[in-house]
Symmetry: C2
Subunit: 195 residues, 2 copies
């Protein structure tokens, strides 16, 4: 019974992500989530204490679904530790994040909603900071060139590149976006920092 | 009479920016804008053909209000053409944009709304691309070091830094944000491109 409840809960959280992306934070009501998940009205309100609770769980779930799969992780483990690999990794990252379009748009909606909800802001702040720190730690273990500052600068540049692609996809062409990813790594990951 | 109408229109557009930032795109109704502007209900609907029209004008107005003032432009004109000046300019830019908090948040709301409104997406795409091109042209005239790629990479990195500051201000400390601006210029504006 517990497992079935867990599956139902996960399906509701996934439905909340779709509603957030499509209707915005204001449109993410329990009723809209029930409809999206195809469950009886009243179901979501049995699973989540409040909209804040559902916002928080939707945010956490996007991060969970954005993790690379086993095959990707294994491929990275055997690649050379140079800037070419770094470029490949960042291309793969941008592709992975932007292909979960509704998840990334839902995160942007949550960020804007966080300006109105202190509880959500607190949880998202901890989540995003933990993600920055995990990226830095992961980089240090990886043996790839560059320092923590490069990791943070790449997070900045690539996030906005993804915002641009998902909200106004014709501002940059696809070729321009590819050149931007390559140039970002080549300039930000400076040769002096190469171990 | 024309002038008075222009002032009234500008006041309504400014009110729309505040409503967008506070309530989100869904909350930006003609009625909410009338209330925010302190004018009789029905006024906004006399000035704007549709919500799309008001969204578009609000976006254009944010860009207009983000322009540097005369004193800032004059100060830039006399500064040395080196990377230190570039860092100062980018600090000033980040400070100027993030201090118009509601304007920047309104632009983010408009970007998300553009995923749902093709007409808004078209207008915003043209506006944002024109802004990128204007930044590149302005840089080329300025005699500052660096190339067009550097201008675009700085636009990416600094936009997300502003998103971070305005939506989740505790992810980075103020000192960390300052170091990020400095490092972004120092790494992205490469020495080889210095004219």
């Amino acid at each position: 019974m517990v497992r079935r409840n867990d599956q139902r809960r996960a399906a509701l959280v996934d439905a909340a992500i779709e509603v957030l992306a499509r209707e915005g934070a204001r449109g993410m009501t329990f009723r809209a989530v029930d409809t999206e998940a195809g469950v009886p009205v009243g179901t979501a309100s049995n699973y989540f204490a409040s909209r804040d609770d559902l916002f928080t769980q939707a945010g956490a779930r996007v991060y969970e679904r954005l993790r690379p799969d086993e095959a990707t992780v294994a491929r990275h483990r055997t690649a050379a530790r140079d800037r070419e690999t770094y470029v490949e990794l960042m291309r793969e990252l941008v592709g992975r994040v932007s292909s979960f379009r509704t998840g990334y748009l839902a995160l942007l909606e949550l960020r804007l909603e966080a300006t109105r909800r202190p509880a959500l802001r607190k949880v998202l702040t901890e989540r995003v900071r933990a993600d920055v720190d995990a990226n830095i730690a992961h980089h240090e273990e990886s043996g790839l060139p560059g320092d923590a500052m490069a990791v943070k600068l790449l997070i900045l540049a690539l996030n906005w590149l993804i915002v641009e692609q998902l909200t106004l996809p014709d501002v940059f062409t696809e070729a321009e976006r590819e050149r931007l990813v390559t140039a970002a790594v080549e300039r930000i990951v400076t040769a002096e920092d190469t171990p």
